[in-house]
Amino acid sequence: MRIAGVRVRTALREFRADGALLACMAVLIGVSALMVSAGPALAARLDDRALRRSVAAASEQGLGASVTLDTLGIDAGGAGAGAPAHAFDGFTSQLLAPLPGWARPMLGVPSIDIATPFMLAAAPGLATVGGVAPEVRVEYADQVPGGLRYVAGTAPPVGALAPNAVVPIAASTATRDVLHLTVGETVALSPGTPGATPATARVVGFFQPIDTTSPATAAFWHAHPWLRAPVPGQGPVRDGFSPLIQRATVLTSAAGLAAITPAASAAGSVGTTITFPLAPGKMTADSAADLSAELGRMTDPAFDNPCTPASYGMPEQCGPFTVARGGLAIAADMKPTLDRFVTARAEVWVVDSFSLASLATVALITLFSAARLTVGRRERDLVLHRARGASVRGLMAVRAVHGAVVTVPALVVGWITARLWLLFGSHDPQSSGPGPGWLLAAIGVAGLVLLPGLTWAGSRSRSVAAAPAVVRRRRLAVEAGVGILAVAAVVSLHSRGISGLPAAGIDPQISLVPVLLGAVGAVVLLRVHPVVLGGSLRWARRRRSAVPVLAFAQARRGPGLGAAGLLVLVLTLAGLVFGGLVTRTVTGAHVDAANEVSGDAVVQGRGLNPAVRAEVGAVAGVQHVIGEEALWTPGGGTTPPVKTIAVDVKALMASDPTSRLAHLLAGDGVGAGTVPGTALSASDLRVVSTELGGLSPADPFLVVPLAAGSDPDTLVIDGPGVSESELRAALPANITYQIQTRGTLTDDLDTSTLTASLDLVANACAALASAFALAALVLELLAGARSRGEAVSFLRTMGLRSRSATSMLIVQLLPPAFLAALAGAGLGVLIPRLLGSALKLRAVTGGAAEPVIRVDFATTAALGGGVVALVLLAALIDSGLARHRRLGAVLRFDSR
């Protein structure tokens, strides 16, 4: 007695017999599931990294969300009662209260900076310039990036001060040296207005900045030059002239600042700035758009006002601060950075949607090829089952079970593998990217439906087959339908553009376009193929070899690869070309942006005297150093001053003897060494572009020779390999310099503008699509291997060598391969034009204008050649498999 039913045994044995192909389907489904489950999340992680990098870079520049208060007074008790770090905690928390809970951690610990206006300082022994007393500003900064080291005395003590107490202050050693200050010295600070009471301050310590050059500290010290050292400048006009005076900033405690505020207010506005830096580690790419919106809401006047309403004309009370009416302003300096990122991400996802859709289609076609081969190999069994009384529904049910047994575990394994993969390197919080749900469902449905669907198609009676005229009409209708759909999709995309796109996610319309365009390409190919083959056959008949004639004659009966194979080739190549084109455009635009810097490196700052310039010139890799200085030339009468760039002509001539600008400045051109901007071309301006600071060549400006003996404020350096750190090491440590190199600028653009994410998706899709395409081609060839094997074996009985049989297959496949390569490459190049306004790369490239799409014809040709090579590889694999078939077995009529 047999235990299981005969139909169960039959189904099991058929499953075992089709094991290899079903395993192939399982692998395809598993890899596809892995791809759609892990791919978007991995890309989203790279997006997170790019966002954090951008935000961190912007934070180093002091950007964030800032609240400024036109302060009239500070509640000394509230401010000075506790430790300085917590002095204004209540108010800062109050500022963030209207934000939703998820957004608050993204705004980091705020820094508070309160500064009085400059006041005249008076003290015995205080250094003066020409008898004019210096001006001193008192500042409270709760965070000094890099920290301070006190070399004498102490920091201003934390704690409440008695009313009218002396305000403790600390100054930098440079300030001490210039102003001749001593510890314990009392300094009177006068607002300078008649009748105003001066405040009294006492020097309690001197400090030195620990680090002023690192990226994290440079921005702070660049914005606080007076804190580091006194800066000479023009003083207010007295008796008809403005004397040169020294200006310096000294530090005090929160309580000290509160104590001095009433007196300082007489000199002008006491400015309080509370800056909330964004916490890059707490931010995710997925939340960037929402955070930007929240920051925008913060700056809206309708945002919850943290100040107590005041009657008309009276000051408002904002936490511990008494603020002039309307004196509170909130600015979200970081918002443009976030908006740029969100726009760039949407742009990248347009490209990603395209790549992923092409890949998904190639994967589905490969799956279809595998399923068709699985069912096709059992075609005779199908007929036998039908003859023995099996219903189509029953046969479909068996195949549905086979499909489920393959699909469900493969999906689960793919998904679990993706989850495990994502566990590595995961941290909280991170973006998850667009959910893979519907993509997984699509793969699952394809896996479940293909086998029973193809079984149904294969089970139809032969008499059901339509007449040739009907088939021709149907084919025309399908071709017309595909064409109309493709045109409609492209037109719709053109009119819609990028608006309405989610910040990240696969847009169905954009995803549909490459599939439809690929289908159009395949349809055209199927029409062109017989014409090309006819010509090839006529050509081959004039040759002596029989192989091409046989190959082309056989190929004429069918493309060998079938519509599915052609579609795979066209889509794969179009995806590869398009991906390469976008990547090249983006990286090329980054290089262009970097080239807008005047030289390989540019140093800006004060004190670039001959000794410093010599030190810079001695740095490894530096070839030439050109000094430049930005000036303003007074205009006559009502004419505004004209921006003027002074250039070291001798150095420029040494750097570029053919420089037209150098020759003009040297006096052998128009003018007497003074060159108007309008006389210069863009290439002439390359070395002064940094100094122009955004001025376009159309704006009025002058270029003049740098006066002998004057120190430039900018050094333009020629030296492709010059290192930023070595340059910084060569510069004086007590001055803050801004250093830009093309290399670091390109790297920054690459890492902060989602280039990594773009590259990952493009490269991964290219690699996977190529692998899928190879699998699809081999499967397509295997589907026709039986009839081809019979024909070749028959020819071998007449003396055809097996090598010639391989040549025959290759010759047979070359025309469709070449046609597909042409169509795919053409489509890839045309896609940017077809996408129209939906493809924007301005935010990704970081440039001011939309970049010009760069077509690399050499790479495109190489990719086209690669596709042809792929087809040849598939032919060799097929031939290799065919060699294992015995001649007798193949030729035996109706053998299995």
């Binding site: 039913g5 139909r7 039959t10 044995r13 036998l384 023995r388 009384g389 040739p468």
Partner: protein
């Protein structure tokens, strides 16, 4: 004079249906299909009647339409025009459900290729049981009947072997058992001995005869094998998609009581009165385009157009 009423009455009178008593009926059967873009008319108005319980051989040259006819009768293909019925089942008007029932319960089929009749991954017993499971017979009853069938056809000893372990003759006999699994009314066999040696072919044909004799199944077998064709009572020849002639074998008892086998070959006359003359006759008398015919008292005579009744005697169409 014929009146309108007479004509109406004539039209309303029940007519005798063609082959009303026959088990298999093909009436003016036409099958046209496309092969490599070429339209092929495989059957061109074929008529055939087979009685219940008969064992009939179909012979004909390659491409004459034998296999097409058999596929249609087995319910594996549908005719383009004409009428065909088997055991009362109209093969043209059958719905999918009826066709399925027909394949399960009415018709069994054996192909020429030994490897095409059996599932290679099932043993002989499972191969026989599979059609039963489709028809709803399962379990011990199916296993018992499958065993009985294999025993009946002389292959009871191979029931646990897979087709790859069987000889060609054994495979074909198992295939006959498979075709008989659901006790069909009719068994169609398409050159079942075509790939076999004479001994195996004899065994297979014996199995067919056993099925016909023991189970009462009507058997229609297509064959090229003269030995096979010579062993059936009736052999129908098909030429160019039509039945052309028929040989009926019987036993004649002589006056002395001795019995001898006789075979009489007939030319087929279709319902429209068309006659297909044997090819050798046509060639020998150079008959072409038009011929002379004459009605005698009990036969019809045919002459070449140039000749006439006076010039030569009428040929006898019986042999």
């Amino acid at each position: 004079m014929t009146t309108l009423d007479d004509l109406e009455a004539h039209a309303a009178r029940p007519r005798e249906r063609f082959g009303a008593e026959a088990h298999i009926v093909c009436d003016n059967l036409v099958r046209i299909y496309q092969a490599d873009g070429v339209q092929v008319q495989a059957l061109q108005g074929l008529d055939l009647l087979v009685d219940k319980g008969d064992l009939v051989a179909l012979v004909g040259a390659s491409g004459s339409g034998k296999s097409t006819l058999l596929n249609i009768l087995a319910g594996l293909d549908t005719p383009t025009a004409g009428a065909a019925s088997v055991a009362g089942c109209d093969l043209l008007t059958m719905k999918a459900r009826d066709r399925l029932r027909y394949r399960r319960e009415v018709a069994g089929f054996v192909w020429q290729q030994t490897g095409r009749n059996l599932f290679s991954h099932l043993d002989a017993l499972d191969n026989v049981m599979l059609p039963m499971s489709y028809a709803g017979t399962r379990g011990a009853a199916a296993e018992r009947r499958a065993g009985e069938l294999l025993e009946l056809l002389g292959v009871g000893h191979v029931l646990d072997r897979h087709p790859g372990m069987l000889s060609g003759g054994e495979q074909q006999r198992v295939a006959i058992a498979v075709a008989l699994a659901n006790t069909p009314d009719v068994l169609f066999a398409d050159e079942p001995t075509g790939e076999l040696d004479s001994v195996s072919a004899q065994q297979v044909f014996e199995a067919l005869r056993t099925a016909n004799r023991e189970l009462g199944v009507t058997v229609l077998v297509v064959t090229h094998d003269a030995a096979v064709a010579g062993q059936v009572r009736r052999t129908v020849a098909i030429r160019d998609g039509r039945t052309s002639s028929e040989t009926v074998r019987g036993i004649s008892v002589a006056g002395d009581g001795s019995e001898r086998q006789i075979a009489e070959e007939y030319v087929m006359l279709d319902r429209a009165g068309r006659l297909q003359l044997p090819g050798e006759y046509v060639q020998r008398l150079a008959l072409r385009d038009r011929v002379r015919v004459a009605l005698d008292e009990d036969h019809v005579s045919v002459w070449p157009a140039a000749a006439g009744p006076a010039s030569r005697p009428a040929p006898d169409t019986e042999s």
